[in-house]
């Protein structure tokens, strides 16, 4: 299952890459498994918060290593995963990083920092 999944992902990536050449602008962001991780979070029965956190951290390293841009919400979602494991320092740190990278998030990040820190 995971094998056929990853080969499907590979095919999709190749298609996306080819499509990308044929059409207009390149991606603004490196997504890695972000959408799958968001899906796993909502389904809640696929992976533990700890395993989700690890995937997000690994992908983050890949994004940084490739010099790509981290997508909107990435740090904030990672912070949420830390928060759910009681790691409030890391929760706050990720919210600050999101805010720094995306000033548009300031109001919401501050709301979260006020309400979930306690």
């Amino acid at each position: 299952m995971s094998n056929s999944r990853s080969s499907a992902v590979a095919v999709l990536l190749v298609c996306a890459a080819l499509g990308g050449c044929a059409t207009k602008p390149a991606s603004l962001y490196q997504w890695q498994g972000y959408q799958n991780n968001v899906d796993a979070y909502f389904r809640a029965d696929k992976l533990s918060p700890d395993a989700q956190t690890q995937l997000m951290e690994e992908d983050l390293q890949k994004i940084k290593a490739s010099g790509g841009a981290v997508p909107p919400g990435y740090y904030a979602h990672l912070g949420l995963l830390y928060g759910q494991q009681g790691k409030l320092d890391q929760f706050a740190q990720q919210m600050q990083t999101e805010k720094k990278q995306y000033p548009e998030s300031e109001t919401f990040m501050d709301f979260l920092l006020r309400n979930f820190k306690k």
Binding site: S4, R5, S7, A8, V11, L12, C15, A16, G19, A22, T23, K24, P25, S27, L28, Y29, W31, Y34, Q35, N36, V38, D39, Y41, F42, R43, P71, P72, G73, A76, H77, L80, E98, Y102, E104, S105, E106, T107, F108, F111, L112, N115, F116
Partner: protein, 221 residues
Amino acid sequence: MNWKKYFKVLAVTASFLVMTGCATKAPPFDYTAYKESRPRSILILPPVNNTPEVQASYSVLSHATRPLAEAGYYVMPVTLVAEAFKENGMTQATDMHATPVDKLRQIFGADAALYITIGKYGTVYQVISSASVVSAEAKLVDLKTGKLLWTGAASASSEEGRSQQQGGLAGLLITAIIKQVMATALDQSHQVAGVATTRLLSAGTANGMLYGPRSPNYDKN
């Protein structure tokens, strides 16, 4: 099945599709309010699900960030948005959608909100075969003024890649998905939801979303 009959059905269906395609070409959308508003950030509310599939709302939601971010907008982190509503005692998307815009603006600080409604999600049994079909519509609303900025609708089906006529990237993707993944019906629906959501929310399409300020195409709409 008799092959001649099969092709006849296909031909009729195809020509029907072509004809309806021409007939329903929509008039250009009026972007006046959208262009005046110039939203930088978008709050995607958890979609209202008008289908019996429980997973539909979050399935579509998990696909929605990417096309909007790639269009050049900051997208409020969808998981935290959902949690924030939950913390305030709201679990039903219909309640979230009914929240006054000034309240949304106050908490999330977004310039605009996107309201998605899912009309179809899952397996539809048809004459020739069954298909996974997902369709959704969306409206974009200015959170400062409450003005409607944009509306759109899109759908996708696991069957469309099989007729080469549809072609294009989406067709390729669908074919690849079907060939590569021995997916359960629900996983397949989730993939089809990704295609439908991307169609619905990508910028640079006919009557679609406009590019946002983080895109190099901003103001070239």
